[in-house]
Amino acid sequence: MLLAMARLGDLERAVLDCLWQAGEPQTVREVHEALAERQLAYTTVMTTLQRLARKGLVTQDAQARAHLFSAVATREEMFTELMTDALGIAGDEHEAMLRFVDGISPQARAALAARLERDSQA
């Protein structure tokens, strides 16, 4: 049924938040220490990171001596990817994007205009 959606667990979200906040690749030990207040086993954190890697949300660098994990994209980039895809699925992507621009705040619109201007000059 609809409610049986494979949701990300709280722990997976917490681990991902930890990676986003760190901003650089983290070892399992570092993530484990960052989540110390949860009193998790080291192996639990490792399994969670590997599960996130299987879901394509985290990359694993196996070249380093200790495996390094990092988020594949920032939180904002992932949300943008989701919204862009949602607009594409929901209907006319370009039309929907124009409506999206209509709905954003003046500050966000100015930032968008500046970015478009910069891109067009590049």
Partner: protein, 295 residues
Amino acid sequence: MDALCLVLLSILLLAGVSAVVTHTKWPYRAPCAALCLWLAGCVAALTGLLTATYTTVVHFEETVQHQIFRLPIDLTAVLVAWVFAGRVLREYIRIHRKGTQRRRRHLTLLALFGKTVHHLQAVILPSRQPLAYSVPGPDGGHAVISDCVLAEFTREEVDSVLAHERAHLRQRHHLLTQFSDAWCAALPKRTFAVRFAERFHGLIEMRADCAASVRCGRHATASALARMAYDKSPEPDSGSGCPVAARRRHLLTNDRCCSSLTASTVFCVACAVAIAPAVLAAAGVLAAACAWICH
């Protein structure tokens, strides 16, 4: 009937049905019947092709002995038809794989940012824009709406939006859409393919509208549709070629979906189209049997 005639009949039926569905206006008055007609055309084309192949194989020796000049023509026709069918199948597999990957990624991101509302049986996406769509997947897929829809639409409108999306999931519309997209990708004529794809997607949406109107009423469904499309006009423009206006018009002018005379006629034509190659092949077999008995 010989193989060449059957292949030509298959092409004629499928191309004719596709052209009628794409270039005429009545499909907007009878969307379910139009979809049924196109599917009947596909069934007829496949039946014709299979019968042509069977005829070629069964009568191979006879053709070699008595009609040697016909053989290359029949074989070429059957081969070309199978190459096209293979192309459609290959495109379908490609589109299906790509779509599955995309949906899997989308569901992962949705699980990260979306919120499941149990009493609505839907996933709510944080967005200031009215959005509603369905993501097919394991366990029946997911209906997704933005929190803007939940906040700004009436309860009846939200219900009809969700009923529309659930109809897409329940009736497995993504499989039909993938098939039509594969057919379009295999077509050599791009302009026609684009027009056909637009029309087909519009008809699929109308089919889901029908399901929503049965569940939540046609006025609530039409109202939700207008608000989704930012259409503030109280009545849809009758002269507009806009698919949303056509969908609203269809909802507001029909008490029941596809209950018009046009729809009934098209359903009958669809049945005739679907069985045409089989009937012609059966007639050929009967004629041959009669000739053999008389002989």
